[in-house]
């Protein structure tokens, strides 16, 4: 029976080429969408490593003329005063790179005997507690760190996993950063600060004393109690304008920034999903049409097969089988193209997602095709041989 199907489909290859191409196209599009979506879903599901809800980001302008000790005193006073505001739970200063702000500071070299590129955040003592970050090893910055021989740094898990994959712990390891030796004092679980879809990347937190830019920390993050974020903005603004004697105070909502930062992935993903949805509907309808006309044109053949002893089930199997033969042929060619992506490592995405994408695309197409083929085929199987044979 299978040989019969192959032969019949091969003999009808010209009629079937359109369906074949349609399946091939659908497979390639679906494969792309699935791979992209599955990859990003996994990225999205990996934790950020810090709290974004009920958080406010603030940028202020501190007078350039002030000497550094005064700046420090001002910063301490601002923090103390903000903590007394109603609804505020905690506050921290940070340097230029704030979560979802869109900027990245990076540094790299082979001073450590291996190629090490890292991104940087300038943070202070209160940063980890304000953002509710978890450490998987060691500790965060503390008072008295500035007296250590080597300036301390805190790194993320990816830093540990990429640069010291065999080390049980990297706490107390000396790491050279920008030709200066630092001591690793702690490792945070995760720190995805560009978007939910960010790839893990080695990251280093530098304390204020390692701030080689010379500019004071002029950004803050304020954690509020749930439901009190919006009310906190107004008094926060007034307090900061008073303290800096400067109206240049910008306050933003970190959760809103997070969502905004996800858009470059979410929007194309939504568009791709809609397009492939339409494509699938189109293919389903096309398949319906093709099958109905084909089966109509072959009514006499159906009658003949039944007169020769084909059961209704055999007729159904025949037509579903025919479509599946063409579909599988299209899927095979599609898969051949698709596996080139992971095999040739053309994209910086792990191969696993492509294989999952291939599997998901094949499953979807087979399901749709089988469903679309079943209805007309069953209708064909019910035809009465005397009627259809008489029609010719």
């Amino acid at each position: 029976m299978l040989t019969h199907l192959f032969k019949l489909m091969w003999n009808k290859r010209r009629t079937n080429s359109l369906l074949f191409l349609e399946i091939l196209l659908a497979f390639i599009v679906l494969f792309g969408v699935y791979s992209f979506a599955l990859y990003n879903l996994d990225r999205y599901n990996a934790p950020l490593g810090f709290q974004t809800e009920h958080m406010l980001g603030v940028a202020i302008d501190i007078d350039d003329e002030m000497d550094s000790l005064d700046v420090l005193r001002l910063q301490e006073r601002i923090k103390r005063d903000i903590r007394t505001l109603p609804g505020v739970e905690d506050v921290t200063f940070l340097g230029f790179v704030n979560p979802f702000g869109g900027s990245t500071w990076g540094i790299g070299g082979d001073d450590n005997g291996f190629d090490a590129h890292v991104t940087l955040t300038f943070a202070e003592r209160d940063y980890a507690s304000t953002l509710n970050m978890k450490l998987r090893d060691g500790r965060w910055f503390e008072e008295g760190d500035e007296n250590e021989k080597y300036p301390p740094i805190v790194v993320n898990g990816t830093f540990h996993d990429n640069f010291y994959p065999d080390a049980e712990s990297i706490v107390d390891t000396i790491f050279i950063l920008g030709s200066e030796s630092h001591k690793i004092i702690g490792v945070v679980d995760h720190y995805k600060y560009h978007s939910n879809f960010e790839e893990p990347y080695p990251h280093v937190f530098l304390p204020p004393q390692s701030n080689f830019t010379g500019e004071p920390f002029q950004q803050l993050i304020v954690r509020t109690a749930p439901g009190r974020t919006a009310q906190a903005e107004e008094p926060l603004y007034r307090l900061l304008v008073d303290a800096t004697k400067n109206t240049d105070v910008v306050i933003w909502n970190m959760e809103a920034d997070r969502k905004k930062a996800n858009r470059p992935v979410v929007i194309p993903l939504a568009i791709m999903t809609i397009i492939s949805g339409f494509l699938l509907i189109n293919i389903a309808l096309g398949l319906f049409g093709v099958l109905f006309t084909q089966i109509n044109r072959r009514r006499a053949e159906i009658g003949l097969r039944k007169a020769m002893g084909a059961t209704p089930a055999a007729v159904t199997a025949q037509f579903v089988g025919e479509v599946l033969v063409v579909t599988v042929a299209g899927l095979l060619l599609g898969t051949f193209f698709a596996v080139q992506l992971p095999l040739l490592e053309l994209l910086p995405i792990p191969g696993k997602y492509f294989y999952l994408g291939i599997g998901a695309a094949i499953t979807t197409i087979l399901l749709i095709v089988a469903l679309c083929a079943l209805i007309p085929s069953r209708q064909a199987a019910r035809l009465h041989p005397a009627t259809v044979l008489h029609e010719e």
Binding site: N11, A300, L304, K306, M308, T311, P312, A314, P385
Partner: protein, 221 residues
């Protein structure tokens, strides 16, 4: 044994009702070679369809192999058509997308049988109708007479007990027609195949055991 008792068949369309067969009684014992004659439209093909379980009578009873066909369920009908009956249609009904030999194999496709065996039997049947050299051709590359012979090969390939032939020599010259008659006669005498043949040719009819004449759906002799 095929037994038709008081069989009537009417076709109803939107406007008219055609009475194709009227209270027809006919029994065909096993091993008989029966011919049916009658003017066009008198119900000959309808009669064959009813005997071949392709159509159902509007009234009356059909008994095949000792059992009324109304007692047959779907799969038994299919099996009976497949194993017991060989049908030669008036208008061939070949599948144009299949080669000649694949067309002949068709009834065997619905049997449990290996592909090699199928092919062997199909080539054998083609040999008997003198078409071995056209096995890999497609139906649209054949003449009417050649198509007729493919249809005959397809009917005999499964070695059925009953062959229902609707004008099997209608499209053939008298020489080829004679050869087809030889094949059918030999099946009848050598294997005891029951044959019911519709024909317009008195000479062919005279070569069979018995002749039944129809007129306007009624049996006249």
């Amino acid at each position: 044994m095929i037994e038709l008792t008081n069989v009537s068949k009417s076709y109803r369309t939107d406007t008219i009702e055609t009475l194709a067969l009227q209270r027809l009684n006919l029994s065909v014992p096993d091993g008989e070679f029966l011919s049916i004659m009658g003017p066009s439209g008198c119900g000959k093909s309808t009669l064959l369809n009813i005997m071949g379980l392709i159509d159902e009578p509007s009234e009356g009873s059909v008994v095949l192999a000792g059992q009324p066909v109304t007692s047959y369920n779907g799969s038994k009908v299919a099996r009976f058509r497949n194993e017991q009956l060989g049908f030669i249609f008036q208008s061939f009904h070949l599948i144009n997308d299949l080669s000649v030999v694949d067309n002949v194999e068709l009834p065997l496709l619905y049997r449990k049988m290996g592909g090699k065996e199928r092919r062997r039997l199909a080539l054998d049947a083609l040999e008997r109708v003198g078409l071995s050299n056209r096995a890999t051709h497609f139906p649209n590359q054949l003449s009417g007479g050649q198509k007729q012979r493919v249809a005959i090969a397809r009917a005999i390939v499964g070695r059925p007990n009953i062959i229902l032939a609707d004008e099997p020599t209608g499209n053939l010259d008298s020489h080829m027609g004679g050869e087809i008659m030889d094949i059918l006669t030999r099946l009848n005498t050598d294997l005891g195949t029951t044959i019911v043949m519709v024909t317009h040719d008195e000479r062919m009819a005279r070569m069979t055991h018995r002749l039944v004449r129809l007129s306007d759906g009624e049996r006249v002799s």
